[in-house]
């Protein structure tokens, strides 16, 4: 390839207009041929780019090191999963124990208390206590009932709502008025 052609290609190259093939031609030219001094900078550029393209990763053990790290990371993930399960299971177990523990604690307390009452008091005394409790409960129910008497006027409201049901009839009437649209249609028909 003559120098004139190379120079033309080179001009295109600096404009970013050359194809890959043309750039390879140029690189090949500079690798093999001696060039005039005015093209020395171009030659240096092409030679350096070519050498830069052959530069490999310096660490020869790169692959091994990479997969060591990857394996380490993958292994770390697994125990984390097991740990999570252990945490959940032990959490559930702890809360169950807590519920069971408190249940037993209070229930046992109550059982003990009943046993203690029956031991300390005579039959007469317990019957008296029972009567007292019954009276107290009766009083409560009486007080509650006196309250409800004053709530009776509320039933008037429900009576009033029953009378409002007649509104439904109005709705039915409105539906029957739909016939008017037919009238509307005939009017538009006549206009046509």
């Amino acid at each position: 390839m003559d120098l004139k052609k190379i120079k033309a290609l080179l001009a295109d190259y600096y404009e970013g207009k050359t194809s890959r093939e043309e750039e390879e031609l140029l690189a090949d030219f500079f690798k093999k041929r001696k060039v005039p001094p005015e093209m020395e900078a171009d030659r240096l550029l092409f030679i350096s780019l070519d050498e830069a393209a052959r530069e490999d990763i310096p660490d020869k053990q790169f692959d091994d090191k990479l997969f060591d790290v990857i394996e380490e990371l993958d292994n770390k993930k697994e125990p984390a999963g097991i740990r999570k399960i252990i945490y959940t299971v032990s959490g559930i177990a702890a809360s169950l124990l807590l519920i069971l523990g408190s249940y037993l604690f209070f229930i046992e307390d109550q059982i003990n208390e009943i046993a203690w009452i029956s031991e300390e008091y005579t039959e007469q005394e317990t019957r008296l206590a029972y009567e007292e409790a019954k009276n107290a409960l009766l009083m409560v129910s009486y007080v509650m009932n006196t309250g409800t008497e004053e709530l009776e006027p509320l039933s008037k409201i429900s009576e009033a709502t029953r009378e409002l049901e007649a509104i439904g009839k109005f709705h039915r009437g409105a539906r029957e008025l739909g016939v008017i649209t037919k009238f509307d249609k005939t009017v538009t028909g006549l206009q046509k």
């Binding site: 970013g16 900078a41 550029l45 350096s48 830069a52 530069e55 692959d63 790290v69």
Partner: protein, 178 residues
């Protein structure tokens, strides 16, 4: 996607990703770390990978975002850190001047680092990885027209920088003659 398929389909992109990351970050160590993290991320997404139109474009996108995040994080360093950074950078530069940059790859990386990020990424994908414009469009989410304009700017800028280096006698110190 299991480990074997991952090794077969995704892992071979490592050198390409490394070059891309190292171009963006201008730090070979950090680039390796970045690529490892990208692969870990991809491993996490492995079930999703085969559903994509272009795995490669997606992988490039993940790498680009990861590197840009790293660059952003660098910018938010504290004043104390910046002080020490400026100090060490100045020191490193002087050492570099002493030994002269001999490695052509290192040199072009230094020059490319002067470009705006977008131009850097486009030039990396086109002139180093040999990607088609359509692939770059997918990887970087920018239109072909924008790609051409930025590529042209980046190439011209690099040529100018090389011209300066030639004028300053860089070629006499270089170990690469091609």
């Amino acid at each position: 996607m299991d480990k074997d398929r991952f090794k077969l389909e995704v892992l071979p992109m490592k050198n390409k990703l490394y070059r891309f990351a190292s171009g963006l970050l201008n730090d070979t160590e950090e680039a390796q770390d970045a690529v490892q993290e990208v692969f870990i991320k991809l491993w996490g997404l492995r079930s999703k990978l085969h559903t994509l139109n272009s795995t490669e474009a997606f992988v490039m996108k993940v790498t680009r975002n990861h590197c840009l995040d790293r660059i952003k994080a660098r910018r938010t360093v504290s004043i104390e850190q910046t002080k020490s950074l400026v100090f060490t950078e100045a020191k490193e530069e002087s050492i570099e001047k002493e030994v002269e940059v001999k490695d052509s790859v290192k040199f072009i990386r230094q020059l490319m680092d002067k470009l705006p990020e977008q131009q850097k990424m486009i030039m990396q994908l086109r002139d180093i990885e040999g990607c088609e414009f359509e692939e770059i469009e997918q990887s970087l989410d920018i239109s072909i027209n924008t790609i051409r304009v930025n590529l042209s700017r980046a190439r011209k800028k690099l040529r100018e920088l090389y011209l300066n280096s030639v004028d300053h006698g860089f070629e006499k110190n270089k170990s690469f003659t091609g």
